[in-house]
């Protein structure tokens, strides 16, 4: 059995694309092997910033041969009266590359057995350039030199070896060979790989750890060792640290961890600023002491060995100090001004050129936030906080610190607001209004923060939609889907029953041109996020749609509740019967919608009386907003409804009787509406 190696040599691939590209290379290779019926043992991927590779072990000598039986025309059509092969038969043979001599006759038809011989592995693998390498797709593309071919970064070399033999192919003008490149600085430019199976070892002696997992493990163990030596706490398990580790792993080929430090005086700067400087800007790992305080040290990883590490440490310390020097300057300078000073500048800051300024956005958000606060019956203190925070919550955008470290927006707002004497609720809300910042990110905890977060996102969605800047496909440059998801998750978390429809309708009317958009379009956009979120927790599509349609005044929390209610009861034994009975009422009721009261005097049978009495027991006010109770109440009508339809012709010739029956059905229909659009439910 043979081993095959493919290595694509590239200029430095963006760190965030290395791992996904490695995964893609595996998938494409597996598909390629299946298509060509070539059997292999394991498919092992490798990656560094400068290369993507796969090693196939136990490669079969040739692809599996294939015998396929093809049925031709029936015997009576295959031969004419004279016993000669007909045109149909000759055509069939020609199409299969055979002659009539090869025919077998069986079951009244002529047959051909088509035999495809196995193809030598080397011939198949020579196609991997066209069918795998060139076909790779990336989220960032470029072209280079005079080529129109696009790739993630320029391809500089290709290795394709079947054991010791080069498999010949080329991509653009790059021809396969047996020479890879070692580490940019620690090794020679061209390194010969003697045999496919010796790939990992060859590169290791050329100072490249080509196995991404092994390299990552090496990095964490080096980092941990240094942290232990100094008794520093290095939290490598956090999501942020794992992301950084992943990134660092894809920037280096031969990692050597080191530590550096900075003057203690910079610890006066808020931790968030220090951490951002270290982690986001310099790709450093920060460390703490056992009490959880940030220490004036950092860990980082060099793409190289221990030699002259002092230079590297000194250089990195100098760069960090320059950043901290800036941060310290901004921190002090920013405090010499006031919130009013910053707000004056916010008045000139663009929100979006088609929409207007951030200040106008704040004013609209403020109006929405106050409406929400009233609907939620906030007390006077809370309303005062909402009013205050709406007036200032973007002020930190104009501070020097946020100008320099834009990822600290909100975080610095909270810090500075406290320093400027704002109360804690206002300060916290400034930070929380950005939340959640990702699909699974933390949600605003304080009531003021949550109201502001919802209002800010609603205004963004409405005004961007009004300006025609609507997300399409995977394209959502302004993060409006994330904003809508944030609204849904925040309402859910707070269990705030808000009728979004009237709230938005009033808001849109009040704001005029800047918010000129159909309310329904905005609501559908938000409801689509409800759909996504409920599907994500594993609820059936039909049940989700049943709960989302007929959204009424669009109380998101209630809509999610009723979807869950339907999902819970979909396992009930009588679910099918209940849904069938209720949808039958629904279908009829909409033919003649009426709000008339039911008159028992017009009943003609017991079933009518029974249904009327069952329905009349409902405390309708109680059922509104309680999907579980509503479902149970309606489920109890299943039998009365069934009997009703057995004994009653709704369309009586007597108009009074008929109208009375529609009145009865409409009473139930109105309640069903509050449960959703049951017609969507697929009954098995």
């Amino acid at each position: 059995m043979s081993t095959f190696l493919l290595e694509i040599g590239l200029e430095e691939v963006p760190a965030h694309l290395v791992t996904s590209s490695e995964g893609q290379l595996i998938e494409r290779t597996k598909k390629f092997l299946t298509e060509h019926r070539l059997t292999v043992g394991a498919v092992k991927p490798y990656s560094t910033p400068r290369r993507l590779a796969i090693q196939l072990t136990d490669v079969a000598a040739e692809s599996k041969s294939l015998s396929e039986e093809k049925r031709g025309p029936s015997i009576d059509r295959a031969k004419d009266d004279a016993g000669q092969w007909t045109k149909a038969a000759l055509g069939f043979a020609r199409g299969q590359g055979a002659t009539p001599e090869d025919f077998e006759t069986r079951d009244g038809y002529v047959w051909l057995t088509k035999h495809t011989e196995g193809v030598p592995a080397k011939d198949i693998l020579a196609k991997i350039g066209d069918e795998v390498v060139s076909e790779m797709k990336f989220s960032t593309y470029m072209k280079w030199a005079n080529n129109s071919f696009q790739y993630v970064r320029p391809i500089r070399w290709l290795v394709a070896l079947l054991d010791k033999e080069v498999v010949d192919f080329n991509v653009l003008d790059v021809q396969t060979g047996r020479f890879t490149r070692g580490h940019r600085f620690l090794s020679n430019e061209h390194v010969e790989i003697p045999a496919a199976i010796e790939y990992v070892q060859t590169l290791k002696s050329a100072n490249v750890i080509v196995d991404a997992d092994e390299r990552k493990h090496e990095i964490s163990s080096q980092l941990t060792t240094i942290a232990k030596e100094h008794d520093w706490v290095l939290a490598l398990d956090s999501d942020a640290a794992q992301d950084l580790l992943e990134e660092v792993n894809n920037i280096v080929e031969w990692p050597t961890a080191f530590s550096g430090g900075f003057d203690e005086k910079y610890l006066e700067i808020p931790d968030e600023v220090l951490i951002t400087s270290m982690r986001e800007h310099q790709r450093f790992f920060f460390v703490k002491n056992n009490e959880g305080d940030l220490l004036p040290y950092f860990l980082s990883v060099r793409n190289g060995n221990q030699e002259h590490l002092d230079n590297v440490i000194a250089g990195n310390e100098k760069v960090l100090v320059a950043r901290l020097e800036d941060a310290e300057f901004f921190y002090k300078e920013d405090q010499t001004k006031s919130i009013n000073d910053y707000m004056e500048k916010v008045k000139k800051l663009v929100f979006h050129e088609k929409i207007g300024t951030v200040y106008e956005h704040m004013q609209r958000t403020g109006a929405l936030a106050k409406s929400l606060a009233q609907l939620l019956q906030f007390n006077d203190k809370q309303i005062a906080d909402v009013t205050r925070v709406s007036d200032i919550y973007k002020f930190d955008l104009m501070t020097g610190m946020v100008g320099e470290f834009d990822e600290l927006q909100g975080v610095m707002g909270e810090q500075y607001a406290k320093l400027f004497g704002e109360n804690d609720a206002v300060a916290t809300a400034i930070k929380e209004h950005y939340m959640p910042t990702s699909a699974t990110g933390e949600i605003a905890q304080s009531d003021i923060g949550a109201v502001l977060a919802i209002a800010d996102k609603l205004d963004a969605i409405v005004t961007f939609f009004a300006a025609g800047l609507i997300p399409s496909g995977s394209n959502d440059p302004y993060g409006l889907r994330r904003a809508a998801t944030g609204i849904v998750r925040t309402l859910q978390d707070k269990q705030w029953h808000i009728a979004l429809e009237p709230l938005l309708r009033q808001f849109i009317e009040l704001q005029g041109t800047v918010a000129k958009v159909e309310v329904a379009v905005v609501l559908d956009f938000i409801l689509d996020r409800v759909r996504k979120l409920t599907l994500d927790v594993g609820i059936r599509q039909d049940l989700v749609m049943a709960g989302i349609n007929r959204a009424g005044s669009v109380d998101i929390v209630y809509i999610v509740d009723r979807i869950k209610t339907l999902a819970t009861h979909s396992e009930d034994d009588n679910f099918r019967d209940v849904v069938e009975a209720l949808t039958r009422v629904d279908r009829l009721a909409v033919k003649q919608v009426t709000n008339d009261k039911v008159n028992p005097a017009l009943f003609e049978n017991n079933a009518e009386t029974e249904l009327y009495q069952a329905t009349d027991l409902f405390k309708v006010d109680y059922l509104v907003g309680r999907s579980e109770e509503l479902y149970q109440a309606l489920a109890k009508l299943q039998k009365p409804i069934a009997r009703y339809f057995e004994e009653t012709m709704v369309n009586s010739e007597n108009d009074d009787v008929k109208n009375n029956r529609y009145a009865q059905l409409n009473v139930i229909h109105r309640l069903i509406n509050k449960l959703g659009d049951l017609e969507q439910i697929v009954i098995k």
Partner: protein, 313 residues
């Protein structure tokens, strides 16, 4: 660190010699105000069309909003870029770049050099590229870009652009706390030469510029550029586009351009930049792309009747 610290002018001389040896023609700094080496016609115009082009030059770059009255250790109204462009991008451009660091005495084995993804875009010039920033022991010293689009037009032949921030690089090499402590040459410090102009230009840009004059100039420069473009006078037109761009930057620094106006001005510059790229290619095509020697490429881009054959609307 190197034993003998190179002065800023030694750094320039070294880079010029090095890149001249690699086949770049040494141009002189463009005699018009620009915000970056990219805006020089030796990059911006030459990146268009299929003709090869290799050049290197120092470009003083003015960014009025970055002025800090000579007070900030790193930020400047005007800094200096050393710009290298090679088109089509050579296969070994990264190695050539690393060679230039060695020429400056920066031995890769004694440092940590990384290519960190950083894609570049200048929307007002309709230009975008893919590339990296180069980190030297954690400090960004060079911007490395493969141009993909210039003047809103997808390029025929990709230019590799290497832009060294000379002050940063020199700060690293000389290991001084502020740019003003750098030695330019012969014992004369950067501050001796530039501290006063930095103060004066900052004062001018932030406090004293005549906005009415600047607004009027912008309109006039734009009108002139547009008129010249219609006449096919690419280079004079481009000069006026650069003047418009710089005038806008001055207005912007003064903080008098309102939100909606700002977008409008950028749009006007972008419109001119798109047009000049198109006209440049047309005019070069009329000349028969004289720098394009490759037979196949001549056939591809000039077609049978000697006309540029690529759709570039």
């Amino acid at each position: 660190m190197t034993d003998k610290k190179l002065s800023l002018q030694d750094i320039i001389l070294t880079l010029q010699q090095y890149w001249a040896k690699q086949g770049a023609n040494l141009m002189q700094a463009y005699d018009n105000e620009v915000g970056a080496g990219t805006q020089s016609p030796y990059t911006f115009l030459r990146a268009n069309g299929p003709e090869p082009w290799n050049a290197a030059y120092v470009q003083p770059s003015r960014r009025p909003a970055d002025g800090r009255y000579g007070d900030n250790p790193n930020r400047l109204f005007q800094h200096h870029q050393f710009q290298v462009v090679m088109k089509p991008s050579p296969e070994n451009i990264q190695e050539l770049y690393l060679g230039s660091l060695e020429a400056l005495g920066i031995k890769p084995l004694e440092h940590d050099i990384r290519f960190v993804e950083d894609n570049w875009e200048n929307p007002s010039m309709g230009a975008a590229g893919i590339g990296w920033e180069v980190w030297l022991d954690g400090m960004e010293v060079t911007q490395f870009t493969y141009f993909q689009q210039v003047g809103g037009i997808e390029v025929d032949s990709v230019t590799a652009e290497v832009t060294y921030g000379l002050e940063r690089l020199a700060s690293y090499i000389q290991d001084v706390p502020t740019v003003y402590d750098l030695e330019w040459g012969n014992g004369v410090l950067y501050g001796d030469i530039f501290k006063e102009p930095e103060y004066e230009h900052s004062t001018y840009a932030f406090e004293k510029s005549d906005q009415h004059m600047l607004l009027r100039h912008f309109d006039e420069f734009e009108a002139e550029a547009t008129r010249l473009l219609d006449l096919g006078l690419v280079h004079p037109a481009y000069d006026y586009i650069l003047k418009s761009s710089h005038t806008f930057n001055l207005l912007d620094a003064r903080g008098t351009v309102s939100v909606t106006e700002r977008a409008g001005y950028l749009h006007r510059i972008r419109t001119m930049a798109r047009k000049v790229s198109k006209v440049f290619i047309e005019e070069r095509a009329k000349l028969g792309f004289p720098l394009l020697k490759d037979h196949d490429l001549r056939k591809k881009y000039l077609g049978e009747n000697g006309k540029y054959t690529k759709e570039n609307a």
